[in-house]
């Protein structure tokens, strides 16, 4: 199985295994609260974010996913975060603290802060996807008041990714079957490959759209997931909101330092 096929199945599995059990918008709400908490920490206070790492660690372990898996997947976002923050140390040279004789400027602090914020936010989203699946997330977004049109658009875009992937797998197989081991192709050929891929996927998307229309699709994707909001959901929401608020507003570093000093 090629990497492309493995990737296809891995993403597909997330939604397939969700089955038709009851799901609750609580995970979406907790994730939104967590993202607000992470993003509300001032960018020049990276120490304020460190304790918020407890949420993805504890929640992923509680859900039986394992933090290691979430962390490894979150590393993919690192290059983007580096690009976003890399100019801060260069342009913001105001010294804000000394570590021994080493002067640390604000640019470095904000750079570290961006990396942390980005990683933790991405980890929370990954955790939500792994526990819930894309389709339920979009469905829950609809449930908690996001515009239906927007949710359907997102869902269809998500499904379109599969169409592109499927066509890419077929084209890759066809290329390999006649490539006789050749790995590298000139840049111009890749351009044609991508063009063909888009045309093929558009044709498939037209067919799929027709098949959807034939079965009564009228603009809103029916998902049929059952939703529950019960006592357990409230407990889960209130507990995590309290924990996240504590992690956000309590200065645990200071408390621990004071305990040690005493």
């Amino acid at each position: 199985m090629t990497k492309l096929e493995k990737a296809y199945l891995a993403v597909n599995n997330i939604d397939r295994i969700r089955r038709r059990t009851d799901s609750s918008p609580v995970i979406l709400l907790v994730t939104i609260i967590y993202l607000i908490a992470v993003l509300s920490v001032p960018v020049d206070r990276p120490q304020g974010i460190v304790w918020l790492a407890a949420y993805p660690v504890i929640a992923s372990e509680m859900q039986g996913i394992g933090y290691g898996k979430v962390f490894v997947k979150s590393i993919w976002i690192l290059p983007l975060l580096v690009i976003i923050g890399v100019f801060n140390p260069i342009f913001d040279k105001v010294t804000v603290l000394h570590i021994g004789s080493l002067a640390v400027n604000r640019g470095w602090l904000t750079f570290i802060s961006i990396i942390f914020r980005g990683l933790l936010s991405f980890q929370a989203v990954i955790l939500m996807i792994l526990t819930t699946g894309f389709i339920d997330i979009f469905n829950m977004m609809r449930k908690v008041g996001f515009p239906s049109v927007l949710c359907t658009q997102m869902l269809l875009s998500y499904r379109y990714l599969f169409v592109i992937l499927e066509e890419a797998i077929v084209m890759k197989r066809a290329r390999e079957a006649r490539g006789y081991g050749r790995k590298a192709y000139p840049f111009s050929m890749w351009g044609r490959f991508i063009g063909q891929l888009l045309m093929k996927s558009t044709r498939r998307a037209t067919g799929i759209h027709r098949a959807m229309m034939a079965r009564g699709f009228s603009g809103t994707l029916p998902l049929g997931a059952k939703y529950s909001w019960n006592k357990r959901s409230w407990i889960w929401l209130i507990s995590w909101t309290a924990v996240i608020a504590l992690l956000r507003f309590m200065d645990f570093s200071k408390i621990i330092t004071e305990i040690i000093v005493r």
Binding site: D15, R16, R159, I208, M213, P222, G224
Partner: protein, 236 residues
């Protein structure tokens, strides 16, 4: 039993690139009839089926499903009673699991989830895919995908079933199962196919399209007893 018929009156269809797929098709399929639609590639079979399910609309002439003319306004009503099995089953299987694919139509009909589940289970049972609910289409064989596509339509319990080359890419066993399955469908069937034996076994009546017009309309047994009919339209 439904009392739906399908009537084509001087139906023309021209694609945007100027290709005239249908050039005045006239015939009527009565309630409960099984009609084979034969013809070479590009003869207009698929176009005619798309028009019947209100996925295309005639450039000229009229298609009626029961008393309802096929128009943009009546499209939803038409699609509730007409089930269309597409030529490429992959077009019909786009959800993460086979269950969700088969449930897609009934859910669009706003049926209660319990009824959706009943219909999905029944349809999957009928096509021999019980136990495959949680698989994705990607994990099924070609024949299984075809069966899943048929289940997608059966779950909508249509009055009229349109099938576009349903036996394409099927092995002998899957083809036989499909024929037996369709024999059990008591409502109207319009079957576009290149599979002459399947047409003979399933359909009492055959309409042959050639270059967008009806070249033959009569008993299926007649075309097998008179090979000239098939020869004239290039099918032999």
């Amino acid at each position: 039993m439904s009392h739906h018929f399908v009537k084509y009156t001087n139906v023309h269809y021209r694609y945007e690139d100027g290709t005239e797929a249908l050039k005045g098709v006239d015939f009527k399929v009565t309630h409960g009839e099984r009609v084979a639609l034969l013809g070479l590639n590009g003869s207009g079979k698929s176009t005619l089926l798309l028009l019947t399910d209100a996925l295309l609309f005639p450039s000229e002439g009229e298609v009626n499903v029961g008393d309802v003319p096929v128009t943009k306004k009546t499209a939803e009503t038409i699609r509730r009673s007409v089930g269309f099995v597409f030529q490429d089953p992959d077009d019909m299987l786009f959800m993460p699991s086979i269950y969700d694919d088969v449930a897609f139509g009934p859910r669009n009909m706003n049926l209660p989830e319990q009824e959706v589940e009943r219909r999905v289970n029944k349809s999957l049972q009928e096509v021999g895919l019980k136990g495959m609910e949680e698989k994705s289409a990607y994990q099924l064989s070609g024949g299984q995908r075809r069966s899943a596509a048929i289940a997608c339509v059966l779950s909508m319990e249509p009055d009229i079933l349109l099938l576009d080359e349903p036996s394409a890419n099927l092995d002998a066993r899957a083809r036989r199962s499909l024929i037996e399955l369709l024999k059990g469908f008591k409502h109207t069937i319009i079957l576009a196919t290149h599979d002459l034996e399947m047409a003979e076994e399933l359909c009492e009546r055959t309409v042959i399209l050639s270059e967008g017009v009806v070249a033959f309309d009569g008993n299926t047994s007649q075309i097998f007893s008179d090979p000239e009919i098939l020869k004239n339209v290039g099918l032999l």
